[in-house]
């Protein structure tokens, strides 16, 4: 009897816990989308502050270019080695260039760039905005008649949406280059043949896919970074800033993975890209 009632209570507690948890998640999602739409509205509302945008573009570019290139290069090398070893038993090791090229352009280029930027830029956006929030700087902006979404979120959002595809071009070239270096130097593959294969398999449509993905990832990183920065409570203090920052990187990474799946489905399955 006693046992029964306690089991009943704890299951009630669990479902209550899940319910409040779900409500919390949904309300956060709602707030994040509200911020996203406010951002879209503010992008098209004058005055346009290009100086703020350029500052963010340079910041992101300088901070990430070398890391993106190095990450892309080594990923390409790994792909080259693995590809060659896996294809060799079937005597189709000649397709290794195609394998590297297609995976880097359509999948790994945008993905690696997005991962690097989620960790560096997304987290630093959250750290900066949440610090501004707890030190009342965002309130100060608002009291002085400046819209914080327009002043802080819009330039970061646009800069990520522009810089992600730009950096993806670099990481893609670095990836193909890495594959080339690994395959040509380690295995018996002709360099000229490799490059010819790459050229033959590099379609405009694939590049388009890559850029669409990269742009979407960029928007997601900025949206998550800004939302996590803004949503901290003023009473959070330094501890709140730390929690928000790690939270931002993790949520960005998961969002990118989910978004990648959704985009693959839409682009390849529904719209019929190759």
């Amino acid at each position: 009897m006693n046992q029964q009632s306690s089991t009943h209570e704890s299951s009630g507690g669990l479902s209550l816990f899940l319910k409040t948890r779900l409500q919390h998640t949904l309300s956060e999602l709602g707030q994040a989308f509200t911020l996203f739409f406010q951002t879209l509205v503010q992008i098209f509302r004058p005055p346009f502050q290009f100086d703020l945008l350029i500052k963010q573009l340079l910041l992101i570019g300088f901070n990430s270019l070398s890391v993106v290139i190095v990450s892309g290069f080594f990923t390409g090398m790994v792909l080259g080695v693995q590809g060659y070893i896996q294809l060799k038993p079937y005597a189709v090791e000649g397709s290794v260039a195609r394998f590297v090229c297609v995976s880097v352009v359509k999948e790994l280029g945008p993905m690696i760039t997005a991962f690097v930027l989620a960790g560096r830029i997304g987290a630093s956006i959250t750290a900066e905005l949440s610090t501004m929030k707890v030190t009342e700087q965002i309130d100060a902006l608002e009291v002085m008649g400046t819209n914080p979404v327009k002043y802080l979120v819009v330039p970061r959002f646009l800069a990520c949406a522009i810089m992600l595809p730009t950096l993806t071009i670099f990481s893609t070239f670095a990836g193909i280059g890495g594959g080339f270096v690994a395959v040509v130097s380690l295995f018996d593959v002709n360099g000229h043949f490799f490059l010819l294969e790459v050229q033959r398999n590099l379609f405009i449509a694939s590049v388009l896919v890559s850029l669409i993905k990269a742009t979407s990832f960029g928007m997601a990183i900025a949206a998550v970074g800004c939302y996590k920065g803004f949503s901290i409570s003023t009473a959070g203090g330094a501890e709140g800033v730390g929690t928000a920052t790690t939270g931002s990187a993790v949520i960005s990474l998961i969002t990118i993975l989910i978004l990648d799946f959704v985009l693959n489905h839409i682009l390849f399955n529904i719209l019929g890209f190759v």
Partner: protein, 261 residues
């Protein structure tokens, strides 16, 4: 000039403001006193439209602002200068850029004109030659002054001070109090000072309002406030600054008795 009418605000199940009424007449320096956590900062945030009240009205010069659209609210906000409790300087900018912020955002001035205004405002708060410094390099008192210079940049009609002296040493406190009085006299602005520092309260106020449990429990001139026979008020004043206020030799007390006469 500003009236707060029957404002209520709760956080969760915590009632912070509980039907607060407050009149802020033009040209006065109103000091709002109340213990820590009684909702003074929340009140200033509601008055500036940073936070929505659960119910009640805020009137600014005959306009009810709590339901205004962002655009109209921003027009009114430009008439208000606010000094935040933490100064809230933008750390990514220099002192000069901080002070010039509203001019850069809302006016089309030449760099020379902006520079002139910035220098003028910085000298109003007795800070010269720190234009290019960053907020992180400044002391607490200097940050408050820069915050004040920034609040003055747009020639506000009202200045709101959120605990201007909290966390500063006694000498710097006295300087800030002087500054508040000076600005009041020089610029004829309406000032609202929120504080729990009795010394500061009695040194700058032309009127005092006391908040307790989300309501105004007393208001009047400093001399009137001292005479009110209310245990909470007396305890607060006694607790706040026993010698300074009650000692008749106290220069502050002398000063406002002289002013009253």
């Amino acid at each position: 000039m500003i009236s707060v009418k029957n404002v209520r605000k709760t956080f969760g199940d915590k009632q912070v403001l509980n039907g607060l009424n407050l009149e802020i007449p033009r040209g006065e320096t109103l000091v709002i006193m109340g213990p820590s956590g009684c909702g003074k900062s929340v009140l200033l945030k509601i008055v500036t439209g940073l936070m929505a009240a659960d119910s009640g009205e805020i009137w600014f010069d005959g306009t009810e602002i709590s339901k205004l659209k962002a655009k109209k609210l921003n027009v009114i906000r430009r008439k208000i200068g606010m000094l935040f409790q933490s100064a809230a300087l933008f750390d990514s900018m220099t002192v000069a850029e901080n002070v010039a912020f509203m001019l850069d955002q809302h006016e089309n001035l030449s760099p020379q004109e902006t520079r002139k205004i910035v220098d003028e405002k910085l000298s109003l708060v007795d800070l010269d030659g720190i234009r290019e410094m960053r907020p992180a390099e400044l002391s607490g008192g200097m940050r408050k002054r820069v915050g004040l210079a920034r609040a003055l940049a747009f020639n506000p009609e009202v200045i709101l001070y959120d605990e201007p002296t909290t966390g500063l040493d006694p000498i710097t406190c006295t300087e800030i109090n002087h500054l508040i009085r000076d600005l009041h006299e020089k610029l004829q602005v309406t000032s609202v000072v929120v504080t729990h520092d009795m010394q500061s309260a009695f040194s700058v106020a032309t009127r005092i309002a006391m908040i307790h449990e989300g309501k105004q429990i007393a208001s009047g001139s400093p001399a009137e406030i001292l005479k009110i026979d209310d245990p909470i008020l007396q305890q607060f004043i006694l607790f706040g600054a026993p010698d300074q206020i009650l000692n008749m030799e106290n220069p502050i007390l002398k000063e406002f008795i002289r002013r009253e006469a």
